[in-house]
Amino acid sequence: MRIQKAMLVFRKDWRELRRNWQVTLPIFIMPFMFSALLPSLVVLIRAVAFVPGAPLGGLATVVKNLPSQAQNELAGLTDQQALFYVVSIYFFAPIFLIIPLMASSVIASDSFAGEKERRTIEALLATPISDSELFLGKILVSFIPSMIVTVASFLIYSTVVDVFSRTIFNGRLLLPNVIWIILIFGLAPTVALAGIGLTIIISARVKGFREAQQISVILLIPILILVFGQVSGAIIFGPEVVAALIGAFVGVDLLIFRIGVRLFRRDEVLSKLA
């Protein structure tokens, strides 16, 4: 494996990616969507659902199910503060897994299936770049931008949350905290890799990148289960859950990549053009 060959593929794909608005636009919009979504949601909940002195309503179950450590965090907070805390720290956590997942699978489907569709793959496969160098270069070009977007979204989100928490919590800043840092730098990469691996498997079977992208959307299902699980109070993103998820995704990654490498046999790619 010659790293500079993998980097050559990476640089080439990166350059192409930057000029492909179909792919980059949705990825760029995501962080702004999430940073805008939060304030409006919070404002909405406060205006509609929050009546001073009333119990937390639907949130009560979530609060009850919080790990004891988190229960302690809520001790002594007003209802308004507790609401803000639960929504911004816990509710939004799984949503932040959607970002690396979507970004990485959108780019990967363009990089693998798209190159096949645009018929540029033949000249690329004819070069003396080995399978593993090609594979690594293409994984990096999907992984690095999606992590950049994830981290950027996290920074924007933290800023927005802190702007609110300064007033609600009398100057206290809620983010970043340990859980979120593990979430963004520990769990998100494993999720991004799972998205890439699955997209490679899908790309080996389909004609074009649109098809690959459409199928990749099924990847969202497990993440959405986490989101709803959290809202219903069944799953809470405490340290144990995040650690367990990292373990689970590392396992999934290993499995998926083993299959992906097998399917990405360069001499098979052109045989299955049709």
Binding site: L8, K12, R15, E122, A123, A126, P128, L270
Partner: protein
């Protein structure tokens, strides 16, 4: 001093076969291309030419059989094979969103030109040659079809490969550019001793450029040989064309009287005779003598060779 003369084979295929599902695209092809040779691959659409090239360039693996390129086995040493081979694929296969220069730069580095200085001078030289220099910062998407074709050829030779696979290099090119490519192929083979596998539908190109050629049909080899050998498969009686200054019935009768002449026809341009003979060498002097004695004035006398096209059509149809 005795120079060691060795006929080394640059490409060797043994029972090369590719199946796509139930379709056998290439069916037990065996052939050899010698070092420095220009070898033509001819055949109708869907004959399996591109598939053969893809197997030799390690782009797809054969279902059966084996091949070696430059002494390397295509299945065991594919990386080595790809290093020494330059390939012009059937589709230009260029990155449309990248510029002309960026495309060349990427492939040059991918083919091992790691020194930036060397790379940029080689690319400059090639773009100059293919008259693409003033387009070098334009996106490939904006180029015309022929320009893309030229760029793809430039890419194929960027690393000075000793072995070249060219899949229909002159399609889409204007006559002048097509001639430029033919001259390039001639030069690469004659002066630089490159081995070239040329796949083409232009028989006149094949005849002019190829030392030997193979006609394939439905994946099978029909014949391998020189243009001369291919032509000789047309076993019609030899023909002689006699161009005269004037024509009359007496001349025709005089030619009919020659011993070796079997048939005489007047060509549409009225003063040409097409003479079917048994034996060219025996008949030609006598035909000329009889024409002159009958008062005819001879402008030229030529044997008519069956064209490569005739031979090709016959060989392909016979299958």
């Amino acid at each position: 001093m005795v120079r060691k003369v060795s006929i080394v084979s640059a490409v060797q295929a043994a029972g090369l076969t590719k199946r796509f599902g139930s379709l056998t695209a290439v069916d037990h092809l065996s052939f050899e291309i010698r070092e420095g040779e220009v070898f033509g691959l001819l055949g109708p659409n869907g004959a399996g030419k591109t598939t053969t090239i893809r197997m030799l360039a390690c782009l797809i693996s054969p279902s059966e059989g084996s091949a070696s390129v430059g002494g390397y086995d295509t299945s065991k040493d594919s990386l080595k094979v790809r290093e020494i081979v330059g390939i012009l694929t059937e589709n230009p296969s260029l990155y449309e969103k990248l510029t002309v220069y960026e495309n060349m730069d990427f492939f040059a580095e991918a083919y091992g030109l790691s020194d930036a200085q060397e790379r940029s001078s080689r690319i400059r030289e090639l773009l100059e040659f293919f008259r693409l220099r003033d387009r070098k910062n334009e996106k490939v998407a904006k180029l015309s079809k022929g320009m893309k074709q030229k760029l793809a050829i430039a890419r194929a030779i960027v690393h000075n490969p000793p072995i070249l696979f060219l899949d229909e290099p002159t399609t889409g090119l204007d006559p002048e550019s097509a001639k430029g490519i033919r001259d390039l192929i001639e030069g690469l083979s004659a002066q630089e001793k490159r081995t070239i596998l040329l796949c083409t539908h232009r028989l006149e190109d094949a005849e002019k450029l190829c030392n030997r050629m193979m006609i394939v049909n439905k994946g099978k080899s029909v014949i391998v040989g020189t243009a001369e050998q291919l032509r000789s498969t047309i076993d019609s009686a030899p023909l002689l064309r006699v161009v005269l200054k004037g024509m009359n019935q007496r001349i025709i009768e005089a030619v009919r009287g020659v011993r070796h002449v079997r048939d005489v026809n007047v060509e549409n341009s009225a003063s040409n005779l097409i003479v079917t003979v048994d034996d060219l060498a025996a008949a030609t002097p006598e035909v000329v003598r009889n024409v002159v004695q009958a008062g005819g004035e001879v402008l030229s006398v030529n044997p008519i060779q069956p064209s490569l096209e005739e031979a090709y059509l016959k060989l392909v149809k016979a299958e």
